[in-house]
C-alpha cells in the first residue's frame, strides 16, 4: 500500500512537473504569475481530443497538433492581452490571467459543452512492479515528464536561446540594450511553455477525463509546485511537483481524503513560513 | 583601534566584534566601531569591503552571526529595524528607496515616528490632537522641503524625481525624525557637486544645531574630508585603520587598497 501510494505520488508529480516548469519559464519572461495555465491546459486537451477523436488522427499526431495550437494560444494571449498591460502590478495581471483562463474555459464550453470525453485509445491494465501497480501509459508519462525537465534544464543552461531567456528574465531592459529582441524571445518562451501546456492537456486527458474544468483543477497543484520550488527554477519546480504530488497522495494516511486539498495547502503554508523563498528560489519579485 | 580617540562624550553606538557570513563567505569579520555623541564618522573602503553589510547589521536589516551592538547604552543586537528606529537610529539606503507612488510631501509626512493618527481609535476619539500633530509635521515638512530644495516638486509622485532628487528626498526624510544617530549610505552617490554643498551644509547644521551624530559611508573624499571628525577604513570585512582624515590619507595600506595614487 505504501509503495503504491509512492507510485501514485510519482505519477501525480509527472503530471504537475512539466506545467510547473512552463509556468516558471513564463513567469521569468512575462514577470507575473500567469494563472491562465488552467485555460491553456484545457485548450490543449480539447485540441488533442478534436484531432484524435473527431479527425481520427493517431494520438501522437493529435498531441503534436495540440502542442502547436496551445503554443499559438499562449503567444497570442500575451500579444493581445498581457503585453499591453505590462506596466500593471503583478497581482493585477494575475487577476487578469484568471479572467483570461475563464474566457478560454468558456470558449471551449461554447463549442464542446460540458460533457466528459476521452481519447480514442483503450484503457490499460497495470503491470506490477514490486507489488505496486503502474500502467505502461503512466510509465510513458513519467519518463516524458522527466525528459522534459532535463531538456528544459539543458536548454536554459547551455543553449543560446536558453541564455537569452534567462537574460530577459533577469533584466529585460538590459537584455534589449544588449541587442536581444524582447519580442522574439517572449514569443519563443510562450511557444515553448504553450507546447508543454498542450502536452499536459493530453497527459491530463489520459489520466482524468476531458472536460472544460480539466485545467482549472490542476492549476492549484501546479502553482503550488512552482512556488515550493521557488519560482524561476526548473529543477526546483520538479522537486516542488514531487513534494506536492506526494503530499496529496499521502494525506490519506492521516486524514479523511475530503481534506486532501486542505492538506496540500497546509504543507505549502508551513513550508513558506519556514522558508519564504522556496526550495531553490532567489527572492524579489515585487518590482 | 578606537582607543586612539580622546576621552570625550559617551559613545552613542558601539559595535563589538560583529561578524556576518553568507555561507562560506565572510562579509563582515569581527568588525568593531564606536561612535561618540556629536561625531561625524566616515566609513570608507574599497567596493566589496562589507560596508553596506555592516550598515545592515547596525540598522537591524540583517542579524549578525556573531558579536554585539549597543546603542545608547542598550543592547540592540536582536531588535528589529523599527524598534531601533524608535530608539533614535535612522538610516538611508545606497540605492535610494522612496515610496514611489506617494507624493514628495507625503514621503516626508510619513517619516515622523509614532504618530497618534496612525492608530485607529484616536482618529475618532482624539481628532483635534491628531490634527494638531499633523499640522506640526506639515510645518516641519515645509521647512525640510525648503532646506532640501524640493519645494517645487512637493506634489509630484516620488517616482517622477530624478536620481539625485531621490537621494535628497531620502536625506530629507531623516530630517523629519527626532533621532540621535543617522546612518548615511553613500549620500553623495549620484548627487551633483553643486548639490553636494547643500548636502554637506545640511549635515553640518544637523550636527551643530541639533546635536545629531552621523556615521557615513561615502566615496567622495571631499565630502569626507570636509565633514568627518574621524574616519574608519574598512577592507575585507574588518577595520584596516582608523583616525583623522589626514592620518588616513598618509597611510600606505589605505593608499594601496583604496585611494590609489590619485589622493
Amino acid at each position: 500500500m505504501n509503495l503504491q501510494l509512492f507510485v501514485n505520488g510519482l505519477v501525480n508529480a509527472s503530471l504537475i512537473a512539466p506545467p510547473a516548469i512552463a509556468f516558471t519559464l513564463l513567469f521569468g519572461v512575462l514577470r507575473f504569475p500567469n494563472f491562465a495555465i488552467g485555460g491553456y491546459i484545457t485548450v490543449g486537451a480539447f485540441m488533442a481530443y478534436t484531432a484524435n477523436v473527431i479527425f481520427a488522427w493517431p494520438l501522437v499526431a493529435a498531441t503534436l497538433f495540440a502542442m502547436a495550437v496551445t503554443a499559438l494560444v499562449v503567444w497570442l494571449s500575451d500579444v493581445v492581452v498581457f503585453a499591453p498591460l505590462r506596466n500593471q502590478e503583478p497581482v493585477t495581471l494575475l487577476v487578469v490571467s484568471i479572467a483570461f483562463s475563464l474566457i478560454l474555459e468558456n470558449l471551449v464550453r461554447l463549442f464542446f459543452a460540458s460533457d466528459v470525453r476521452g481519447f480514442d485509445i483503450p484503457l490499460e491494465r497495470p503491470i506490477k512492479v514490486m507489488g505496486a501497480r503502474i500502467t505502461p501509459e503512466q510509465l510513458d508519462i513519467l519518463m516524458l515528464a522527466f525528459a522534459i525537465t532535463v531538456a528544459v534544464h539543458v536548454v536554459l543552461r547551455f543553449t543560446r536561446f536558453g541564455k537569452a531567456m534567462r537574460a530577459v528574465a533577469d533584466n529585460p531592459v538590459l537584455a534589449q540594450v544588449r541587442g536581444l529582441s524582447l519580442r522574439w524571445i517572449t514569443a519563443g518562451t510562450c511557444a515553448l511553455a504553450g507546447a508543454i501546456f498542450g502536452l499536459t492537456g493530453v497527459f491530463a486527458g489520459l489520466d482524468l477525463v476531458i472536460e472544460p474544468l480539466i485545467g482549472w483543477n490542476l492549476t492549484i497543484p501546479i502553482f503550488a509546485a512552482a512556488i515550493l520550488g521557488g519560482i524561476g527554477s526548473p529543477m526546483g519546480a520538479l522537486v516542488g511537483a514531487i513534494c506536492v504530488g506526494m503530499a496529496e497522495e499521502l494525506t490519506i494516511l492521516v486524514l479523511p481524503s475530503t481534506y486532501k486539498i486542505a492538506v496540500g495547502f497546509l504543507i505549502i503554508a508551513v513550508f513558506l513560513l519556514l522558508r519564504p523563498q522556496g526550495l531553490f528560489g532567489q527572492p524579489e519579485i515585487k518590482k | 583601534m578606537t582607543g586612539s580617540q580622546p576621552a570625550g562624550p559617551r559613545p552613542i553606538i558601539e559595535a563589538t566584534e560583529v561578524s556576518r557570513n553568507f555561507g562560506a563567505f565572510v562579509a563582515v569579520d569581527r568588525m568593531s566601531i564606536s561612535v561618540r555623541e556629536g561625531e561625524i564618522v566616515g566609513l570608507i573602503g574599497p567596493n566589496g569591503a562589507g560596508k553596506s553589510t555592516f550598515f545592515n547589521l547596525l540598522s537591524g536589516v540583517m542579524r549578525p552571526s556573531r558579536g554585539r551592538v549597543v546603542f545608547d547604552g542598550a543592547d540592540i543586537t536582536k531588535l528589529s529595524p523599527s524598534k531601533r528606529a524608535r530608539l533614535g537610529m535612522l538610516r538611508t539606503f545606497q540605492l535610494s528607496r522612496e515610496f514611489s507612488r506617494m507624493t514628495v510631501l507625503e514621503n516626508l509626512l510619513v517619516a515622523p515616528q509614532v504618530q497618534l493618527g496612525e492608530d485607529l481609535l484616536p482618529l475618532f476619539t482624539r481628532r483635534r490632537e491628531v490634527d494638531e500633530i499633523e499640522r506640526r509635521h506639515f510645518d516641519r515638512a515645509k521647512e525640510v522641503l525648503a532646506i532640501a530644495k524640493l519645494e517645487h516638486v512637493e506634489n509630484n509622485r516620488a517616482s517622477d524625481l530624478s536620481g539625485g532628487q531621490k537621494k535628497l528626498l531620502e536625506l530629507a526624510r531623516t530630517l523629519m525624525v527626532d533621532s540621535k544617530l543617522i546612518l548615511l549610505d553613500e549620500p553623495g552617490a549620484g548627487v551633483n557637486p553643486a548639490l553636494m554643498k547643500t548636502l554637506s551644509d545640511m549635515i553640518q547644521m544637523l550636527r551643530n544645531d541639533h546635536g545629531k551624530t552621523f556615521l557615513i559611508v561615502e566615496h567622495d573624499m571631499d565630502l569626507i574630508a570636509s565633514l568627518c571628525t574621524s574616519v574608519t577604513v574598512m577592507a575585507e570585512g574588518r577595520t584596516l585603520v582608523s583616525g583623522s582624515f589626514d592620518e588616513i590619507r598618509q597611510n600606505r595600506q589605505v593608499l594601496d587598497a583604496y585611494l590609489g595614487g590619485a589622493a
Partner: protein, 403 residues
C-alpha cells in the same frame, strides 16, 4: 455618502432594465410566465440541457395549440450553474422581474433548497429533481414538487441487487454530497455493516487525482465496490480503478455511466453495474418523449432527467388549466388533482390532458419519467428503478423494479 451612491446605482439599474420593460409588461399582461432554472454548467452540466430542452418543447407545443386558459406561455430560462449563489440571484430575477408562477428544473439539492426561501416568500411553485430529505421539511407552504426519488430509495434498490449476487465484502466510496452520502448509508444498511470493509471514503469533485482514494478503496480487495457519484468524477475514478487492476464488481448510479462515460472509457466499461430511477419504458409517454426529443428507441433508458423536465412542464400547465387561474396556491392544489388519484382518465401528454380538462373530465397524468403520483408532501411516489450491467458497451437490463 454611500446611500447616495447606492441610489445612483439603483437609478442606473432602472435605466438598464427599462430597455426591456415593454416586453416585460406585455408578458405580465397576457402571458403566463414560467421559469426554468437548470444546471447547464457545473456539476449538473451533463443533465441540465436536456431538462431545458424539454421545458421548451412542452411550452412551444402548448403555445402552438393556443396556450393555457387562452394565454400564451412565456418561458424564461436561466442557468443555475449548479451553484446556489448564482441560483438565488437567478431565482430573484425570475420571480421579481419575470413574475413567474413556478420555477422548474432545479437539480441539485443545494440549489433547490437555496432558492426555497425566496420562492416561499413570493409564493412561487418549485418543481425539482433533487433527492435531499430536507426538501419536504423546508417546504412550509406546500409549493414544492419533487420529481425524483429520494436517495435512500436508490441505495436500497441497488443494494438489494448486490445482495442477490452474494458478494462477500464491499468497499464504499462516494462523492462528498448529501445525495450520495445518504445513498451510501442506505446501501450499507441493506448489505449489512459487517460486509463493509472499512469506513466509506468520501472525495470532493474536481480533484486533480483520485489515485490514493482508489488505492485505499481496493487495498483489502473487496468483492465489490459501490461508488455513487456523477459522471465527471466517476469517469476519472473508474479509469483509476481499472488502471490499478481492480477485478471485482463496480457498482454505481446510472447517472455516472451514460453514453459519454462509455465513450470515454471504451471497452473497459464492461461489467459496471448501475441503477437509477427510470421512465417506465413501456409507458406511451416515454415513447412520445423519445419522438419529441428526436431519439431512437434503443430499449434503454435515455435522458432520465429530460423526461422529468417534460413532466414538470406538462404537470404545471395542466394544473393551471385545471385551476382556471394562475394563483399559485390553487395551482399547487390542482397539481395533485391532475396527477394523483384513481378512476380518472389517464393521459400521457399535455395535449390530451388539456383537451380532457376542457371537456370537463378528471385526469391523471402519467409521465415519461414515472407515472407521477405525489405524496402529501409533494414528493414523487413511484418511479421505476432499473438495474443494469454494461456488456459490450451497452446497458443490459438486469432487473426493473416498480415502486
Amino acid at each position: 455618502m454611500a446611500i447616495n451612491l447606492t441610489r445612483r446605482n439603483a437609478l442606473k439599474l432602472g435605466a438598464a432594465t427599462a430597455v426591456f420593460a415593454p416586453s416585460i409588461l406585455r408578458a405580465q399582461g397576457a402571458e403566463i410566465n414560467v421559469g426554468s432554472l437548470t444546471p447547464n454548467t457545473g456539476g449538473g452540466g451533463p443533465f441540465g440541457p436536456n431538462i431545458t430542452a424539454s421545458h421548451k418543447r412542452v411550452a412551444d407545443l402548448v403555445n402552438g395549440q393556443g396556450g393555457v386558459l387562452g394565454r400564451q406561455i412565456r418561458l424564461y430560462q436561466e442557468n443555475s450553474e449548479t451553484n446556489p449563489e448564482t441560483a438565488v440571484r437567478a431565482a430573484d430575477k425570475l420571480i421579481n422581474v419575470n413574475g413567474v408562477v413556478g420555477i422548474l428544473g432545479t437539480w441539485s439539492s443545494s440549489v433547490t433548497l437555496g432558492i426555497m426561501p425566496k420562492c416561499q416568500t413570493a409564493g412561487v411553485i418549485q418543481m425539482c429533481t433533487s433527492s435531499s430529505s430536507d426538501i419536504p421539511m423546508a417546504d412550509e407552504k406546500g409549493l414544492v414538487f419533487n420529481f425524483q426519488a429520494l436517495s435512500p430509495v436508490w441505495g436500497d434498490a441497488i443494494a438489494k441487487l448486490a445482495v442477490t449476487r452474494g458478494y462477500g465484502s464491499y468497499g464504499l466510496m462516494a462523492l462528498n454530497n448529501d445525495f450520495t452520502k445518504s445513498m451510501v448509508d442506505a446501501f450499507a444498511a441493506v448489505v449489512g455493516a459487517d460486509k463493509v470493509i472499512k469506513e466509506p471514503l468520501y472525495y470532493n469533485a474536481a480533484q486533480a487525482s483520485y489515485r490514493s482514494e482508489v488505492t485505499s478503496l481496493i487495498e483489502d480487495e473487496p468483492d465489490a465496490v459501490f461508488i455513487p457519484s456523477y459522471v465527471t468524477d466517476f469517469t476519472a475514478v473508474y479509469k483509476e480503478l481499472y488502471r490499478q487492476g481492480y477485478e471485482g464488481a463496480v457498482i454505481t448510479t446510472g447517472l455516472s455511466v451514460g453514453p459519454k462515460f462509455k465513450e470515454a472509457v471504451g471497452d473497459a466499461a464492461d461489467g459496471v453495474i448501475h441503477g437509477l430511477p427510470v421512465p417506465p419504458l413501456e409507458s406511451p409517454a416515454y415513447g412520445e418523449y423519445l419522438k419529441e426529443a428526436g431519439l431512437e428507441d434503443t430499449g434503454n433508458v435515455q435522458h432520465p432527467f429530460g423526461t422529468a423536465g417534460r413532466d414538470q412542464m406538462s404537470t404545471l400547465l395542466l394544473a393551471i388549466e385545471k385551476a382556471g387561474t394562475t394563483d399559485t396556491a390553487a395551482v399547487a392544489k390542482a397539481i395533485w388533482q391532475v396527477t394523483t388519484g384513481e378512476g380518472k382518465r389517464t393521459v400521457y401528454n399535455v395535449t390530451d390532458g388539456l383537451a380532457a380538462i376542457r371537456a370537463g373530465e378528471e385526469i391523471n397524468y402519467s409521465g415519461a419519467s414515472s407515472s407521477i403520483e405525489f405524496d402529501a408532501e409533494g414528493m414523487v411516489l413511484g418511479r421505476d428503478f432499473q438495474l443494469a450491467e454494461i456488456r459490450g458497451g451497452e446497458d443490459v437490463v438486469l432487473e426493473r423494479l416498480k415502486f
